[in-house]
Symmetry: D2
Subunit: 133 residues, 4 copies
């Protein structure tokens, strides 16, 4: 199955007074990586709006394995775990960019496909092809 | 001139790895105070939407005087500095809740009145009355 | 088992361009509620620092049931699901303040007790008593 | 005078329910650009810690000219406006990546040099050289 690698740096706004990345912010990193993947597949936000395809988060499971710190270079690795009619499950992790064995945080994110009124709808066929190839 | 006092606590998500409130977050505190004031004046977001009245930020000046820290009890003090046809200038500060002489951050925020398409429009008369009384 | 109710309002900074609360921000609400509970129990951040007791998040499971929107009045309900030697599991939900049957988001958050160097340590006995009573 | 260009994309977490970038978040973009510049000059956070050199924000002036939107490609342009003994003033703007004439937000940020206890200290000579060359 395809995977998408999104390199990024941790900045000060990502951290908290314990000197590490604030736990909610990993969800931002994972979302940015999914968004960037959509853009790379030429199925970014503008196309989504044209096609009346939007995504909402149904559920998220996060395991915090090792704290990330300011100015660290990291990567988000994103894979599709499951592709259903109206939803998909992403398997994502944040790892160190230099020591790619070192996983900092792992997540499973379930996303539903909805229309602009937030009502469930099928995933478009062309998107299924792009993601599932 | 009227003033509105908004008590709040600093939480961990407001801080950064220097152990103090991240500088961008003061703008959030000031916006929450302005929003809460609108709600108290019965001119909150729902009424604004009904009346096709929205607000965008034109400019902000911030002076950071003393760092705020996690779990501190603070207050945002909000006053109208100037009330124009299509904009208003707020004078706001964040101070310690117990030692109200201790100002932590001071701001001047200029806000423009716009319609839902972000085009300038006059401030509604009833809102001018509520704010200016 | 005890529960702690934390009333709050959704502000504009909590939302995203879909017009609803950005999914990562629910984790902030849950953390603020846990922090506030600690303060109410007189076991807040300052006492934690004195006692060399800190908390890190091990894992989080979130179910997003109904989107929250700007200016909504909501409540975080927090319960202890499990109290172990060096960790605890919180059961938390965000619900509408007026219609308390309407759950917006549900979470299970596992928190580990650590010292200032982020090394595991036992939960202090007095804290166990305060939380478990 | 030198300038540093930091390319970035706007993501969903940067936006609010008005469909545009939340006004506080521009300060994050400007800080990320300053941080990245320090890293490029080989005077990043780790070196700063070694040298007991830290930076706090004294003041910020922001002009919001045109709203930025989700998934837009933008650039932060950073210049030193003034270099003093113990502080410096940055001139920064956010512009569209494709139409670089289109300035979205402009800022002047005054930063003070402090030690780890947040007490004022002189800017190190080697940093002055790196920034001022």
């Amino acid at each position: 199955m395809k995977e998408f690698i999104f390199p990024m740096r941790i900045y000060i706004d990502d951290t908290d007074c314990y000197g590490i990345v604030y736990h909610a912010n990993y969800l931002k990193f994972f979302e940015r990586a999914r968004s960037e993947w959509s853009e790379q597949l030429d199925y970014g936000l503008l196309k989504q709006q044209e096609q009346n395809v939007f995504f909402t988060i149904c559920s998220a499971k996060l395991d915090y394995l090792k704290p990330a710190r300011a100015h660290q270079l990291v990567e988000v690795v994103t894979r599709i775990k499951e592709l259903r009619h109206a939803s998909l499950i992403y398997d994502q992790c944040l790892r160190e960019a230099t020591t790619t064995d070192t996983i900092l945080c792992r997540a499973e994110i379930k996303v539903a496909c909805v229309d602009k009124n937030l009502r469930p709808r099928k995933l478009p066929k062309d998107l299924i092809q792009l993601l599932g190839e």
